[in-house]
Symmetry: C2
Subunit: 343 residues, 2 copies
């Protein structure tokens, strides 16, 4: 059964059947708007995933797509120190799309909310027609009277810390391009089942990131001076945080290798940690001596600004990561990730 | 200059330069989330416009697209009786898209906020790559301690009223298909300048709807029992409201013709009023005898449910309007609008 055969109201009913309620919502899907209670100020973010540049149906299953859509947006809410309360989801697809795919996406959205941000749920959305599968999610969070943690508060002397997996999602994408794509980069699923078996950690991180959502609130409560979600690549995102704060961030290769080289038994090259992207962990700065909360691990130190925004072991490092229009290189050419080649 | 040539951060800077601030936002674009104050509960809605099914670049200019994107979402917020406070905007497009088009869209978004919902503004967004121009907007509103006006509160005896233009946007689309499209429906701009000159009211309503946003708050304050935004067609949307409320809505052809037949000097067929869609006015029910607020005009009456949800002059009427997957007919075949042919 395709969405074209079933029509809008039928598709909507099938999607809504997959979704649990959001605790803060007094009005959920079905009216012009959903209505949410909020104790404090409201944090809001939006992120889009489009078949082709952002995912490939030969690799990504519906459930995982829904999960990743939720995780990437929840992670942005967490990075302000807010508690995610609701998602809205705009889905557009060709008329020939199986309704079952949209149902799977909805199940993944709902499961990620339940597991990563209990109480949060999908409260509204929109259905449309598009040449490729297109999903735009907006996430809302409640700051519950906490002050939002922005990117611009890092101070020289702060400890730089990270919570989440690091580099695995980028390695997962490298593996997919290496084993499950033609020479021209066209995705196929031959060999994917085997790859899932031999490299489950990397593929799980790529397909369904387990973003440490609750650590955002813990970081805020522990006095984080600056925080952001790492989605495009640690070096690129840290460069943004350092520039916004007017500081230099120096990553310690020793701390990175000690903290993340052997995640889940995988040896992760330093380059993949720094430039991999899509891990959706949290990068935060804390006053020196802070007892790091939750899953945060120290990975560097903040210094006064001096030329470069990012250094690694004191040496200049060119930030790299994802650019949707391909001005930057790593995720668009992920084969570069798996080696530790010098610049 | 294309978005592919300029890259994400350059495009973003050009877009942000077009946008004014939102009054409720303590943190605007540039961090993981925007942060908004809200006095009361938060209303939230999302709506997508995609090149092809929703608009054609041969007809719709960037500024108008931005305006319409804002207006359609602001209208959903208004329909709950909330005050719009902020928009987030996800834009995706081919790398070959001129940056100037995204700037124009941004100018239109900003202008519609300023004119239709002063204080509201774009607070965040996302840029991506897609095979066709794709825009997903989420709008947030503040209920300011008013009770939300839902679709399900209409009571027998209520007066049915409408604020806004009615039928003009659908007629505008009919005219475009008639004069500015090939036999297969492919849009072109030959003759468009002349059509704008001879049919400015219909084309303005189609391109840049002036949704009566403030009337949503007025309706709430006047005691509206049910309200919704009319986007897909008056008959189709009223059918939804009637079903949600468990009532029948009877439209008065006399009141419709008296109230809307000669809008801005245009003779609008009854069929276009009932099935046209895209006008983004407000349909509301009020207890009988209520002094109708703002631009609301009485167009019918609520009756106890009995078979049909919608009647016109007491006779059954099959609701018609927009379905993104083409299960319904009118906007997908808008030539049917310009005649008052019997069913």
């Amino acid at each position: 059964m395709t969405v074209g055969e079933l029509g809008e109201s039928g598709v909507l009913a099938r999607i809504l059947a997959q979704l649990g309620a959001a605790r803060a919502a007094s009005i959920g899907p079905g009216d012009d708007c959903a209505v949410l209670a909020s104790v404090g100020d409201v944090a809001i973010t939006t992120d889009t995933m489009i078949e082709g540049p952002d995912f490939r149906l030969a690799w990504h299953e519906g459930f995982d797509l829904g999960w990743k859509l939720a995780a990437t947006n929840l992670s942005d809410v967490a990075a302000m120190g807010a508690r995610p309360t609701a998602l809205t989801v705009a889905l557009a697809c060709p008329k020939s799309t199986p309704v079952a795919l949209l149902e799977e996406i909805s199940r993944g959205l709902d499961a990620a909310c339940r597991e990563l941000a209990p109480g949060c749920g999908v409260v509204g959305g929109d259905l449309g027609q598009a040449p490729v599968l297109t999903a735009a999610v907006t996430a809302i969070g409640d700051l519950e009277r906490r002050t939002p943690v922005t990117r611009n508060g890092a101070k020289p002397g702060d400890t730089v810390a990270y919570s989440g997996v690091l580099g695995l999602a980028g390695l997962g994408l490298s593996l997919l391009f290496e084993h499950c794509a033609d020479a021209d980069g066209t995705a196929h699923s031959i060999g994917l089942a085997e790859l899932r078996n031999t490299h489950s950690a990397e593929l799980s991180a790529q397909f369904a990131p387990r973003a440490p959502i609750h650590d955002g609130i813990l970081a805020s409560e522990a006095g984080a001076t600056a925080m952001m979600d790492v989605s495009d690549g640690l070096s690129l995102d840290a460069d943004r945080l350092a520039r916004a704060s007017g500081v230099r961030i120096d990553f310690s290769p020793e701390l990175l290798l000690a903290g993340f080289e052997a995640q889940q038994g995988i040896k992760v090259p330093l380059r993949a940690m720094l430039d991999g992207g899509e891990d959706h962990g949290l990068l935060a700065c804390f006053p020196r001596g802070t007892q790091l909360p939750g899953g945060f691990v120290a990975i560097g130190e903040v210094h006064a600004a001096a030329g470069e925004s990012i250094t690694v072991g004191g040496s200049p490092y060119t930030p790299r990561g994802w650019d949707p229009y391909n001005k930057l290189t790593t995720l668009n050419n992920p084969a570069t990730l798996s080696s530790d080649a010098a610049e």
